[in-house]
Structure formats: structure tokens, C-alpha cells
């Protein structure tokens, strides 16, 4: 994986000379040089009722700053996509939302995030309760060392739900939602570690939606999936829109444009542009965004 400093000259060299001459194009270079640049946030995003507000959020891994003053509202019951080159801090931002970064040594944050107005980084916040309100799918599949069934109903089990009928129903609907039911319905008792990589990832999706979270955090959920399974997961995301708020990281621009309502473009730990997906893909404010989403750089 290229580090940001590696990717800089590549980005610069790939940018067409015509674009590089314009003042707006200096933004990425300014970011790379460590200067602060304002984020371009479209007005339509600000008009929406937010479920989650990220407010001037900074994060350091030790001495290295990974997120720079991110300010972005995540609209309620909509799908928001995070795009950006590798290492720009998308996973870090996602992990900050459910405070998983608390577990990493030497992480320091400033700023705040608010879930329905409640401060997430308030010291009085019950982190466990907070995480119960969110579901997360990781970049790499991480099934638990237990049966497929127990994997899916894990969140319910830790809440003390032991009624077989409830668990059975949740297990089936979640697995159907993750397009895995037909493949595993006859082997629910077998170890989840025996599934293929793609099946494991869909299992993790089923696990994340089993507890019906308010916010669903998806970190490249389809990176290990074949086109058919990807299509099913995208269908699932479409079904979830309207009830759940989804924050999805993806490197696949088609996927972002197909599934999301809003798209945010990040670069080197900063939010560059954020707006309705159609606008970002057809008439972005910044040429850099256009260059990235059309695949001309990054």
C-alpha cells in the first residue's frame, strides 16, 4: 500500500497539464504540502436532517495526524459513500464513528461527533451502548471462531437474547439480506471459518445487520465479492435506505454512484468535496474531484 507521500508525485504527474495550471488544482498540492484547505460541502447536504454530525474532528496515530478537521454531516436514512485514494483515512474515519480507535494504542483525538445530537466523544458516553446502535463490516472479513449461526446472532447473544425462535428468525432474515442464506442454510452449525473469503464477508454483513443498528458502517464490504454477490449486497443497501443510515467506503466508483445518495471525496486525511452523488459524479465543484471519480488520478 503506497503511503501518502509516495502517492503524491504519482498524482501530480498523472494530472493533465491543462488542469495543473488552474488555481483550483493546487488544492491537492496544498494538502500534500500540509496547508489547510477548506472543504467544499454542497448546500443540499447541509439541508438534510443529519443522523451523525462530524465536527472538526482530528485524529493522530502517535505523532502522525491521520484526520484533519473533518466536518461533515451524515444525512439520516440515506446512503453516504466515502471515496478517496488508499491511505487517505477512510477506514480511520469509519472506526472513529463507533470509537473502535479507542482500542488502538497512542491514538489521540480532538473535535467531536454527535449521534442524534448526543456527543460520541463525551467521557460520560457509554461506548458499549454506542456500539450497539451501530453495525460495522470491516475491510477484511473477520468471522468469529464459532458456528455460522452463532456468528449471525452474536450481537443478540451478548444482549442476553436466548429465545430460539427469535434467534432463528433473525438468523434467517439477516442471512437472506446478505445473500448468503441459500448457500449456508444446511450447515448453520458448522464453523464459520470454513467458509470462503467472499462467504465470510457476507456473513459479516449479516452479523452487522442482525441487531438492526441505526447506523451501518461498511468498509469496502464488496472488495472480496464476485459480481453476483456484489449485486446482491448493493440490492441490500438499496433496501436499507429509508430506514437505516449507511456510511460506506468504496474504491469502486460505479458502486458509489449506483448505491449512494451522497458522496464524500477525501484526500490525505482531509475532506475535499462532499455533495449529492449525482453532482459529485457529473458536475463537481472541484476539478480534482472530477479527475478522481473519473479515474484520471488516484
Amino acid at each position: 500500500m503506497p503511503t501518502p507521500s509516495d502517492s503524491l508525485p504519482v498524482a501530480a504527474s498523472l494530472a493533465p497539464p491543462a488542469l495543473a495550471a488552474r488555481p483550483a488544482d493546487d488544492r491537492l498540492a496544498a494538502v500534500a504540502a500540509g496547508r489547510d484547505v477548506p472543504s467544499e460541502v454542497h448546500r443540499q447536504v447541509l439541508d438534510q436532517a443529519p443522523v451523525l454530525e462530524i465536527d472538526r474532528f482530528n485524529l493522530w496515530y502517535g505523532a502522525k495526524q491521520a484526520l484533519h478537521a473533518i466536518t461533515m454531516p451524515i444525512p439520516h436514512a440515506r446512503v453516504t459513500a466515502l471515496v478517496g485514494p488508499s491511505g487517505c483515512g477512510k477506514s480511520t474515519l469509519l472506526r472513529s464513528v463507533n470509537r473502535l480507535n479507542d482500542l488502538v494504542q497512542n491514538v489521540r483525538t480532538t473535535g467531536d461527533m454527535r449521534l442524534r445530537g448526543e456527543s460520541i466523544y463525551d467521557p460520560r458516553m457509554d461506548v458499549i451502548e454506542l456500539r450497539k446502535r451501530m453495525g460495522m463490516v470491516f475491510q477484511k472479513p473477520n468471522p468469529f471462531p464459532m458456528s455460522i449461526y452463532e456468528n449471525v446472532v452474536y450481537a443478540l447473544r451478548i444482549d442476553g437474547e436466548n429465545r430460539r425462535s427469535v434467534l432463528d428468525e433473525v438468523c434467517e432474515t439477516s442471512l437472506r439480506g446478505a445473500a448468503l442464506w441459500d448457500e449456508v442454510k444446511d450447515r448453520l452449525g458448522e464453523s464459520a471459518l470454513g467458509l470462503s473469503g467472499g462467504q465470510q464477508q457476507r456473513l459479516c454483513i449479516a452479523r452487522a445487520i442482525a441487531a438492526e443498528p441505526e447506523v451501518l458502517l461498511l468498509d469496502e464490504p464488496c472488495s472480496a465479492l464476485d459480481p453476483i454477490a456484489t449485486g446482491k449486497v448493493e440490492d441490500l443497501i438499496q433496501e436499507l435506505r429509508g430506514t437505516y443510515s449507511v456510511l460506506i467506503v468504496t474504491h469502486n466508483m460505479q458502486q458509489a454512484s449506483r448505491t449512494s445518495d451522497y458522496t464524500a471525496f477525501m484526500y490525505l486525511g482531509r475532506l475535499i468535496e462532499y455533495g449529492p452523488t449525482t453532482d459529485i459524479f457529473t458536475k463537481p465543484i472541484l476539478r480534482e474531484t472530477e479527475a478522481y471519480v473519473t479515474g484520471r488520478f488516484g
Partner: protein
């Protein structure tokens, strides 16, 4: 770069080709493994071969020496030596004859130079007789007597009659021993508890108090009843002894003496030179059965090792039961809860170093802390009457419990280190996944981390059990005994007696092999005990390995 000519990469060093393939390393690593395997199989092979053949009936050879001596015995070894005789040094071969008849010959074995042998034969009727005391006897049966009356004359007839009479006599002997051990033991325990009751009453209410007087009266009463019961038992044992008494097998030894062997003193007898292969197998199985199931006789040099098997297994299991939870919990704190600071690192290093402390030091600690401090306090609080009445500590001396705790302490570092490794091998992504589902720390540990680490933890436990089961030095200080026939679990209230002293196979090896007056005679037995100990450890380990592979299949299945 522009040239189309095929280019071959030039090697930068002449050794590159060699090291690229790693040929020398293959030989080096393979050789190391070969050495290790050869040495281990050599040791195991020796133990298995020597241990398994101990009980196989060996033919009895009669050897006549040039000086007229006649010897009868099993050839147990042959070797070539260079002797310095009058004609100068010359190589000779000689053989080691197990002659036995210790009360006559004064030794169990004798070396014979092959050159000094004038004749050798295998007398058909030569018999090997194991006796209750006095060791083995080798000789030829002459007649069977009952008192002065000759019942069967001649080797063949006497032997046949002996085989007919002997089993019943053995059965009655076993019944007598059972009465002595179990029924007399019960009476003695009744007496003791009455005595303790008196002491307790005296301690509680004063020597002249009515309660103490009543207790003393009850004790006297019981003593009278016990005396009656003892006489009844005496009558029963006498009745059992009478039909066995008087039966005698007269045998002649190789040097022409006649020896009378009372049948009720004979454990087992066989005529190896006459036995068919199946007959030998029968004797072999019988001797193994006695070895595994009976108590030792004659200062452990004969009989069985049942109490020692019991002690070894109980000790190892209790140790595992103590060390497993303790070690796992300690490792959990160290790996999952403690901050990664210099203090944690120091604790970790200290634990690793503990593994290198000589085991005798643990024994000394166990004696000082468990026996004297802990056991002494328990005695003072709970067993005061016993302390006063018999002057004997109950828990304040070595015993199975204290020995188990000492071994648990000894193996604790192994378990902690292995558990820590196993916990560290659990992928962090699994923990994060669990936290992301809203699980707490303990829920994550219990439901995700521990199941996943369990196979590794079991590996540590296997190592710990293997190490603990083979320890001798600390046990000597904390309760292992040369002879301790009362098992820690029996029919007397409260049925479990963790304070009792016990026997142990590893200590038995030391005792029989190096402490017995005739180490040479006991050597075959040492191999057999070693074989048994190795087999027990292997059995315990195989159980754990089987468990581990089951868990592994369940929790750590591979995906491709």
C-alpha cells in the same frame, strides 16, 4: 535495455547458487532432526524393550563350572571382556546368570566365564518360584508334602499336585490380607475417632468435665467391643490359615541342597523350560496383572505398583486442575488487561525466569509454605484434637494436596507463557469485530478470545503435565513416600484424604533403582516402572491432544 538479445543474469557471488537452493541448510536441518529422532527413539526403544521383557519367563540354565560348582538361573546378559589371566591379556566372553536363592547363595546374580564352564543343560522340571518374602527361588521340585505325609513324589507328579492345590491357598491368603487391611483397619479407625472425641471433649470443657468423663467412658466401652471384634477376626483368619498350613513343596537346589517351600508363602511358580509359548504368555500376563494391580512387597522390589500408579495419576490431575485456571487467568490479565508498560514486561520476564528455578527449590518452598504455614494453620484450627491425641499433624506435613500445589507452582510459568502466546495469536480483527457488535471486554474474552486460544492453552497444559509427572526432587520434600498403601480416596469417611502421603512412579524409579540394597536385582523392574510412567504420561497427553484437535477443528479451521 534496447538489445533484443536474451540476457542471463550474472551471479554476483559464487555462493549465491548454493545458498539460493539452500542445499547446505537442507542437510544441516535434516541432520539435526535425524539426530534428535535417533536419540529419542533410541531412549524410548531401550525403555520399551527392557521394560516389556522383564516379566517374560526366561529358560533356566543349569551350568556346571570347572571347579565343580553347579548353578541354575536365567542368563540375563552376555558380554566380551579382556581378562588378564596367567597367559597374558586375552578376550573372553562371559554371561550373567540370575541365580537367586539369596538366602543360600548370598547374591542374586553371578558372572560366569564361558571358558570355565564344563557343562550346561536345561533341566526340564526346573522351576522359578516367587515367594512372599526372601525373593525368588530356583530349583527342581522333589515332592509335595502335607505335614509329614508325602502327597506326590517325583518332579512331574509333585508339580501337577502343586498346581492343583496352590490357587485355593492363594485365594485364602488374599482373604486374610483383606481382613487384616480392611476390617482390622476399620476397627482401628473407630478406636481412633473415639480417642479423638475424648481429646476434643477434654480440650473443649476441661479434663474433669462431665462431657470428657462421658467421652472417656464411651472410649473404654468401644475398646472393649473392639477387643471382642478383634478376637472374632483372629478366629476367622486362623480358620483360613489352617487348611493352607502344612502344605510344603520340597525342592532341590542346584548345589544339591533340599529346601522346603511352604505353599502359603508362594506367590507364583512356573517351569520355564517346559512352558509352551502360550503358557509363557499366561505367566507374562499374570505377572503384569500383579504388577499393575497389586501392592508392593519386599521394600518395593517385588509385587505391584498399584498405589504408585494411583498417586501419579491423582497428583498429575490435581496439579492440572489447579494450574490450568490459575495460569490462564494470570495470562489473561497480563495479555488482555494489563497496560503494555515496563512493569508488565518485568513481570513477564520474571515469570519466564521462574521456569528456570531448580525444582528442589519449589519443593523447599512447598514444604515451608504449604506444609508448615498453611497446613500447620489448618491443623491448629480444624485438627487440634488429632494433633494433641496422636502428636501427628494432619495437614501440617507432606501430602497429596501439598505436592499437587507445589507441582502446580512449578508448572505455572509453562502454562502462563503458553497461554500468553495463544492469546497473542488471536487476530485483533476478531476482537474488534466483537467490540463493534457491542460486546464488552469480558464478553469478548469469554466468547471469542478464549475459545480461539484454547488449543494453544491445551498445548501448554500438555507440556506442564509432562513436566510435572516426571518430577521427583520436589516431591521428596512434600509428601511422596517409599511405601504408602492407604490411597487418598477410599471407603472411610470423608472418602477423600488429600492430606495423605502417597507413592509415585518417578520416585519409585529412584527408590528401587538407586536406594534398594541390590540395585542389580531391581534393574529390570526399574525399566518396567519407567515404561509404565512413560505410558501414563503418554496416555494423559494423548487425551489432551485429542481434545485439542477436536477444538482446533471447531475453532481454527483454515480457509483458502
Amino acid at each position: 535495455m534496447s538489445s533484443d538479445a536474451p540476457r542471463t543474469r550474472r551471479l554476483r557471488s559464487p555462493y549465491a547458487a548454493l545458498t539460493a537452493q539452500g542445499e547446505p541448510w537442507l542437510w544441516l536441518t535434516g541432520g539435526a532432526l535425524g539426530w534428535a529422532v535417533a536419540m529419542i527413539t533410541g531412549l524410548l526403544g531401550l525403555i520399551v524393550f527392557q521394560g516389556a521383557r522383564t516379566f517374560w519367563p526366561v529358560p533356566l540354565d543349569e551350568i556346571r563350572l570347572d571347579d565343580g560348582t553347579v548353578l541354575l538361573g536365567e542368563v540375563s546378559a552376555r558380554e566380551r571382556v579382556v581378562t588378564d589371566a596367567d597367559g597374558g591379556p586375552r578376550p573372553t566372553s562371559r554371561r550373567l546368570l540370575r541365580t537367586e536363592n539369596f538366602e543360600i547363595t548370598g547374591s542374586h546374580y553371578r558372572w560366569c566365564d564361558d571358558s570355565a564352564i564344563s557343562a550346561e543343560s536345561r533341566p526340564l522340571h526346573a522351576a522359578a518360584v516367587e515367594r512372599l518374602e526372601g525373593g525368588r527361588f530356583h530349583g527342581v521340585p522333589l515332592r509335595l508334602r502335607h505335614g509329614d505325609e508325602v502327597v506326590a513324589e517325583g518332579a512331574a507328579a509333585a508339580w501337577e499336585r502343586f498346581r492343583a492345590e496352590h490357587p485355593a491357598i492363594v485365594g485364602r491368603g488374599a482373604e486374610i490380607r483383606r481382613i487384616d487391611r480392611v476390617e482390622r483397619g476399620r476397627l482401628q479407625r473407630q478406636l481412633r475417632s473415639a480417642r479423638l472425641a475424648t481429646t476434643r471433649a477434654r480440650l473443649a470443657a476441661g479434663a474433669d468435665s462431665p462431657a470428657a468423663v462421658a467421652a472417656a467412658a464411651a472410649e473404654q466401652d468401644l475398646a472393649a467391643r473392639v477387643a471382642v471384634a478383634e478376637r472374632e477376626l483372629d478366629r476367622r483368619t486362623d480358620d483360613l490359615r489352617r487348611p493352607s498350613a502344612g502344605w510344603v513343596l520340597d525342592c532341590s537346589t542346584s548345589d544339591g541342597r533340599e529346601v522346603a517351600l511352604p505353599l502359603d508363602r508362594i506367590v507364583r511358580a512356573w517351569q520355564p523350560n517346559r512352558l509352551s509359548w502360550w503358557g509363557k504368555l499366561g505367566v507374562y500376563a499374570g505377572r503384569w496383572g500383579e504388577f499393575l494391580g497389586e501392592e508392593p512387597r519386599e521394600a518395593n522390589s517385588a509385587g505391584g505398583v498399584f498405589p504408585a500408579i494411583w498417586g501419579t495419576v491423582a497428583l498429575t490431575l490435581i496439579m492440572a486442575l489447579v494450574v490450568a485456571p490459575l495460569g490462564v487467568l494470570a495470562a489473561l490479565y497480563l495479555r488482555e488487561y494489563a497496560d503494555r508498560g515496563p512493569l508488565t514486561a518485568a513481570v513477564r520476564i520474571a515469570i519466564n525466569n521462574l521456569a528456570g528455578v531448580p525444582s528442589i527449590v519449589y519443593g523447599a518452598f512447598g514444604l515451608g509454605f504449604f506444609c508448615y504455614v498453611l497446613g500447620g494453620s489448618i491443623d491448629e484450627v480444624l485438627f487440634q484434637p488429632a494433633l494433641v491425641a496422636d502428636g501427628q499433624p494432619t495437614f501440617g506435613t507432606g501430602g497429596l494436596l501439598w505436592a499437587s500445589l507445589t507441582l502446580a507452582l512449578l508448572t505455572l510459568p509453562v502454562v502462563i507463557v503458553a497461554t500468553e502466546e495463544a492469546l497473542a495469536a488471536v487476530p485483533n480483527s476478531m476482537r474488534e469485530g466483537s467490540y463493534a457488535c457491542g460486546a464488552g471486554k469480558w464478553q469478548t474474552i469469554r466468547r471469542i478470545v478464549l475459545p480461539r486460544a484454547l488449543p494453544g492453552i491445551l498445548t501448554g497444559l500438555i507440556l506442564a503435565m509432562a513436566r510435572g509427572a516426571g518430577e521427583v526432587a520436589p516431591l521428596i520434600l512434600v509428601g511422596v513416600k517409599k511405601v504408602a498403601l492407604d490411597l487418598p480416596i477410599d471407603g472411610t469417611f470423608p472418602f477423600v484424604h488429600p492430606e495423605r502421603e502417597f507413592m509415585h512412579l518417578a520416585y519409585l524409579i529412584y527408590d528401587v533403582g538407586f536406594q534398594s540394597p541390590n540395585a542389580q536385582a531391581a534393574r529390570p523392574l526399574v525399566f518396567t516402572i519407567t515404561l509404565l510412567l512413560v505410558a501414563i504420561i503418554a496416555a494423559l497427553n494423548l487425551t489432551a491432544i485429542w481434545l485439542r484437535s477436536r477444538l482446533k477443528r471447531r475453532y481454527v479451521a483454515q480457509q483458502f
